[in-house]
Amino acid sequence: MNELSVYIIASVIFLAIGVYGIIAKRNAIRILFAIEIVINAANLNIAAFARYGSLALSQAQAIAIFVIGIAAAEAAVGLAIIIQAFRLRGKINVDEMNEMKE
């Protein structure tokens, strides 16, 4: 087992934890936590391939910084949606947000 595989395994562990959170949790903030964990797993993969793979360090850092920027935007909009949903319904349980089905 080489060192790259250790980081890929770590990334897969974080991805699995994140996917579990997205599927199993019903609280919207917990789901946002899980999405952030998944995004960070992707960033760890990029960093590992930069260190041990063929990706250049500068290129990897640039890509990861873009990912962090997009994740920041996603978190800001997601939290604003959660606040708005809480204001409208008093709860942030995604099971109860089904108005668009009708």
Binding site: E3, Y7, G18, I29, S58, F66, A72
Partner: protein, 164 residues
């Protein structure tokens, strides 16, 4: 092959990630998520991607984790408990550890030899690389962040109630 540090970091970050999803209180979950982000930045430090680690701490721990905690407080899902002495002591101890590590880190960086010893990759070169190769993407990202901030404010602002 040195696997000890990555494995310790994997265990540390995995526990923090699981706690962020499974803790009973959302406030503790948000704190665990911040610790997970910190663990990822340690991964980046260990891999030699120093600037990415600094960005990770600045954006995720400094901005997103605090924003999430603020939202948790606003939504009111956190458990309000009476201030207990053990929790206060733990908080003070954690704060002291963070402060000590911060001081040690700063003193370490100041004790390093002249940065010109490593001219191959600096923050300036990273910025130049990004501007030269990813200028358009950077511009689009800036627009995206601006529109996201505007959208977040528009979504979260309190609507003026119409009076009959």
């Amino acid at each position: 092959m040195d696997f000890i540090v990555p494995i310790i970091l994997i265990i540390f970050s995995s526990i923090a990630a699981i706690l962020s999803l499974e803790s009973r209180s959302l406030v503790y979950g948000a704190v665990s998520l911040a610790i997970f982000f910190l663990g990822l930045s340690l991964f980046f430090f260990y891999l030699g991607l120093t600037y990415l680690a600094i960005f990770q701490v600045a954006v995720y721990v400094g901005a997103i984790a605090v924003l999430i905690m603020f939202t948790v407080m606003v939504v009111g899902e956190g458990q309000r408990r009476k201030r207990s002495v053990p929790l206060l002591a733990m908080g003070l101890l954690g704060g002291a550890i963070i402060l000590a590590s911060f001081i040690m880190g700063i003193s370490y960086f100041f004790s390093l030899p002249n940065p010109s010893m490593q001219p191959s990759f600096t923050l300036v070169s990273l910025a130049r690389y990004v501007m030269d190769n990813y200028g358009l993407i950077l511009f689009i990202l800036a627009l995206l962040l601006t529109s996201a901030a505007y959208g977040a404010v528009a979504l979260a602002r309190r609507e003026v109630e119409e009076t009959a």
